[in-house]
């Protein structure tokens, strides 16, 4: 018995049966076991296929094609989601609107993450006066509720950004405007997290070591500290996409968002819910774009939740 046991111990010490898992493999395993997160990822993948694969079957001209003979028709075989007030096919519009909504969500979250990381990193790393000024500014931005800030900024930037042509398609300048203002109003939370991480990490030995061998500040920030704060950044970026899609829907709903003819789920809902008779008589008109918003945001939230659990096992939810 004793010999066998010591043998097995020495075996384990010298010939490990399995290689130790790396952080990435461990996270992936935790993520895979998270049922809701996997469901979210699959649902999101389906939505992306719907929005971008749909282009192969229905053209943008068709999505913007108006036919006043068939206004506000309920769902039928020809128009599965019905038609809107000027006879456009709602199915086709949810495809093209979804592309814009998803693009706005992703790029606005990226803008927000970029600003948040930049401000958080600078404030946390340099400390002192820089920290004081940046954090006062962050606090000031935090004080005004996001929607109020969004409306003031939407008003400020309105009409200042021209339309752009990308890949043969024309995008209303309001798309860029929305991306910019959502990004500008959603970085504060991440900035605080990144700052706190930087504050504690910069005191660690490996950073002190990097400092002593004369590594430049920029290299320390980007190469040594930033990779260690990736977990909260990834989670914040994911949840940021969900928030940005909701924010886009809110400003579009209030009429200050993306302007026609570019469709988004948000501005489709805005038209559909203006006036009680449409709410009453054409439920398909607002139900489908709304449903797509809920499904997208829901699956992103699931995904973000799973990522949080996978990347940072210490948090309890």
């Amino acid at each position: 018995m004793e010999i066998a046991e010591s043998n097995s111990i020495t075996n384990m010490q010298f010939e490990p049966e399995t290689k130790p898992l790396t952080f990435r493999e461990l996270s992936w395993r935790r993520f895979r076991r998270h049922k809701m997160a996997m469901a979210g990822a699959v649902m999101l993948a389906l939505l992306v296929v719907y929005c971008f694969g749909g282009t192969l079957f229905l053209t943008e001209e068709y999505a913007n094609f108006t036919d006043t003979k068939i206004i506000l028709q309920p769902p039928s075989a020809e128009h599965p989601f019905g038609t809107d007030t000027v006879g456009r096919d709602i199915l086709a519009r949810t495809i093209y609107g979804g592309q814009i909504s998803l693009l706005i969500g992703i790029s606005a979250a990226m803008v927000g993450v970029l600003i948040g990381v930049l401000i958080g990193a600078l404030a946390g790393y340099y400390g002192g006066l820089v920290d004081g000024i940046l954090m006062r500014f962050t606090e000031a931005m935090f004080t005004i509720p996001q929607l109020f800030l969004l409306l003031v900024m939407a008003k400020y930037f309105a009409g200042k950004i021209p339309n752009v042509q990308v890949m043969g398609r024309s995008f209303s300048g309001s798309v860029i405007l929305i991306v910019v203002i959502i990004g500008l109003t959603s970085w504060m939370y991440l900035a605080r997290i990144v700052r706190a991480d930087f504050l504690s990490l910069k005191e660690r030995e490996f950073i002190v070591a990097a400092n002593t061998i004369g590594t430049r500040n920029r290299a320390i920030i980007i190469r040594h500290i930033l990779p260690n704060t990736m977990a909260p950044i990834i989670v914040a970026a994911t949840l940021g996409v969900a928030n940005a899609i909701l924010s886009e829907a809110y400003i579009s709903f209030l009429g200050l968002g993306v302007q026609a003819p570019t469709a988004t789920w948000g501005n489709m809902l805005q038209v559909a819910s203006s006036g009680f008779h449409k709410i009453q008589n054409a439920p398909w008109f607002w139900f489908f774009p709304g449903m797509f918003i809920v499904l997208t945001v829901l699956s992103i939230n699931f995904l973000g939740d799973g990522l949080r659990d996978a990347l940072d096992p210490t948090t309890v939810t």
Binding site: T143, K155, I293, V294
Partner: protein, 344 residues
Amino acid sequence: MSRYVIRRLLQAIPLLFIISLVLFVLMRASGDPVATMGGRRVMRPEDRQRLARQLGLDKPIYTQYLYWLIGNDWATIDTDGDGEPDMPGDRRGVLRGELGKSLVSRGKEAWDIIWERLPNTLLLMIPAEIVIILFSLIVGIFSALRQYTLADNVITAISFIGYSMPIFFVALISMYLFSVKFKEWGLPFLPTVGMFDPKLGKTPSQVALHMVLPIFSMASISIAGYSRYVRSQMLETISQDYIRTARAKGLSERAVISGHALKNASLPLVTIIGLDIPLLLGGAIVTETIFAWPGMGRLFVDHVSRGDTPVVMGILMIIALAVVIFQLLTDILYAWLDPRIRYE
């Protein structure tokens, strides 16, 4: 403690200055409020200039900010456009309690316009907040005590969906269901828009009936989020040693939960509520818009799109001030409720 309060108050002053400066610049640099003042008539350029001069909109932006902040009754202004200052100013500025006159509703004080709307907003938001707190606690604690049972999982699923919904979608669905469909089915149905039925007049019962759907929409989304929070707090609390002690003493489960766990578990909710109350003043922009409720949120949307700086700045500064004050109050209250917390 008092040193802490004084320090926080002193910190709030530069904060409010930064906020007001940024917002003022954003507001004033966006569009020309004079452009729409003529209504449908096309204004002559000289009329426009005269109007802008009278309203002080021709001044450089820092002068405008200064006048907004401390008034202009100490300066003489050029009102006839000959380059010579001729009239003493008549504005007292925000710091002396005057928000200025509205640019949209000409001649009306911005403060009066806001004051008219404030009761409507509070009428909607205070009951909503009470419903939210009450149900978040009930749902959160209920699902924490039944962790990982069917009921808990169903509640979790529903709250995730609720949390992911834009509020107007909840509003649309509830309008369609409780108003349109209930009417079709011959059931008692709820009214959708406005504060009261004009035919029946503004009676308390009418207003209460019109409050149901907006409150339902707002509450269902907030409850979805907060109840998760209460649940995780409750789970953390009942795993503590003192709860085990209470159970070991032989207390009934009810006494353990209501006497020992509940107080500690609901403590962090204080922070959330403290941060929520200032937002009540701002009203719910989207909810008020879709239900046509004449509150502050709609006032804000209407006036921001027409560039009415005094009213918009008034609303924003009231919210900012309330946020700062309530953050401080929350911190103080928290320290009082939880003696482990000390501020120095």
